[in-house]
């Protein structure tokens, strides 16, 4: 048995000829799984945000709806489903309806490519990094269309801000992401995780990893429009920004996409810099490494992602909002030059073959199965 990562897609492909029914089952399982995952994760994240915010602010947060308010997000979801859907007069009706769909689709398409565990990945594209960067761009199109089609000046301002902001920070995110690609030598997300078997890029890359991590967290926060970069919907400035005219379920899709994008960013940070589902291994400390292996990889991934999500929430409830010109200055005059310098520094490191914990194993070689991981009979 090996822990060679396997995506659901590859299993389906393998089963198509031999067992067509299995292929259909895999397909159905992945669709149902993603649907459930998106829904449950969305609710959990919304609940977590409200509770965490409350505790940052010396209060209790949702408490009455279900035990400790756990059903609060469910109540909100049902209510939003049954709320009137208003399309303002003069709005571009088609685009107004299409915008949240695009936002939501971009988020779902990102999630299917994320390696949540060695066997918990729906599609493992060989250009996964590029793919995620590309489909994440659908979100900004959704926001732009939503703000523009609303025929409302606050929305328009919000959309313009969002457009300029997200595309700008995408550059920094890209440059940070390239550092992980440089070290891993692959664009495949599962390959990047495997390459961190000997140590996570955040510290194994001689500082370049830390800088890239910080860059990616900042740029990621900006890309998903969260405080201190929530200019697109800055309440105190633009009323509700780009979604001022959205109500009911279409607003809910924007809302949900925003929260799940939080997870997408956290998952990308985890995958690229924190070793994905890899346990925390330190050099030659066999006993330590074995102990770390006792936790299943899915839990490792969830733990790391949760930590990053918490960090982003901490940002949100601490920082005030930047002003729009400061935001652009930060990106173009600070982050972008740093990103470039860091990239070439990292490239130099890679070319000279200089790592911490040097290993002889090729980065993508199959791994031996450590004790304690769940065995999986379906793997060849």
């Amino acid at each position: 048995m090996s822990l060679e990562p396997q995506s659901l897609a590859s299993r389906t492909a393998a089963a198509v000829d031999a067992e067509p029914w299995m292929a259909i089952a895999f397909l159905a399982a992945s669709v149902v799984g993603v649907a459930a995952f998106v829904t449950v994760l969305g609710l959990v994240l919304i609940y977590a945000e409200r509770k965490i915010a409350a505790h940052f602010q010396c209060r209790v947060g949702p408490y009455r709806v279900g035990p400790h308010g756990t059903l609060q997000a469910v109540a909100d979801a049902i209510k939003l489903l049954l709320k009137e859907d208003v399309v303002p007069a003069g709005a571009d009706r088609l685009l107004h309806i299409l915008a949240p769909v695009l936002s939501f689709a971009g988020m779902v398409l990102c999630i299917v490519a994320l390696p949540l565990g060695p066997h918990a990945q729906v599609v493992d594209l060989d250009i996964g990094v590029l793919y995620v960067a590309a489909v994440a761009g659908l979100g900004v199109i959704g926001i732009l269309l939503g703000g523009w089609s609303s025929h409302n000046k606050w929305s328009l301002l919000g959309a313009m801000r969002a457009g300029a902001q997200i595309i700008s920070y995408e550059l920094s995110a890209m440059l940070a992401l390239l550092v992980a690609v440089l070290f891993s030598g692959t664009l495949q997300l599962s390959g990047i995780v495997l390459a961190q078997q000997e140590g996570w890029w955040i510290w194994r890359a001689h500082g370049a990893g830390v800088v890239a991590f910080a860059l990616f967290v900042v740029a990621g926060t900006a890309e998903i429009n969260r405080t201190p970069f929530d200019l697109a919907e800055g309440e105190s400035e633009l009323t509700a920004g780009f979604h001022t005219e959205y109500s009911g379920l279409r607003f809910a899709f924007f809302f949900l996409a925003e929260f799940l994008n939080l997870f997408v960013v956290a998952a990308m940070v985890t995958t690229l810099f924190l070793g994905g589902w890899m346990p925390l291994h330190i050099g030659q400390w066999a006993a330590w490494n074995a102990a770390m292996d006792l936790l299943p990889p899915g839990l490792w991934f969830a733990g790391k992602a949760a930590a990053v999500v918490f960090l982003l929430m901490w940002f949100r409830w601490t920082f005030p909002r930047l002003r729009v010109d400061q935001l652009m200055r930060l990106e173009w005059k600070v982050l972008l030059p740093i990103g470039f310098a860091n990239l070439f520094f990292a490239a130099g490191l890679v070319v000279s073959g200089w790592y911490f914990f040097p290993t002889d194993a090729a980065p993508t070689a199959p791994l031996p199965a450590p004790a304690g991981w769940p065995s999986d009979g379906a793997a060849p």
């Binding site: 992945s30 649907a35 489903l81 007069a89 779902v108 493992d124 000046k153 929305s155 595309i167 692959t186």
Partner: protein, 116 residues
């Protein structure tokens, strides 16, 4: 197969959102009338159209982004094979990046990075 899967999920996302909107349309109350469909502008009637010629600064950022994004597209394949192409590749990319950075500096000097 992988891309077929992605396609499946494009369909899935569309079905989930549009299906949800359909259900919502069937179940949710719908009471148009009065000023409901007027654009919301803090309780006032908006003055003038909302689709207007925006300051060109927004588009300069769009252009700059395009330049650097294309550049990132070139960097990606290089990042994958950086071990094989070695120092020579690094130098080449450095030259490529430097040319772009000169462009950025030019834009900076010209004040294009000043937000409107």
């Amino acid at each position: 197969m992988d891309y077929l899967y992605v396609l499946v999920f494009v369909g899935f996302a569309a079905a989930m959102t549009l299906g949800g909107l359909g259900i919502s349309r069937l179940l949710a109350p719908h009471a148009p009338g009065g000023l409901k469909s007027e654009p919301y502008e803090c309780g006032e009637q908006p003055v003038g159209p909302s689709w207007l010629q925006f300051n060109v600064g927004y588009y300069i950022f769009g252009l700059l982004f395009l330049v650097f994004d294309v550049e990132a597209a070139f960097l990606l394949p290089w990042a994958v094979v950086v071990r094989e192409v070695g120092v020579a590749g690094l130098v080449e990319v450095a030259i490529f990046g430097a040319v772009l950075l000169v462009g950025l500096l030019y834009a900076w000097k010209k004040g294009a990075l000043q937000w409107v």
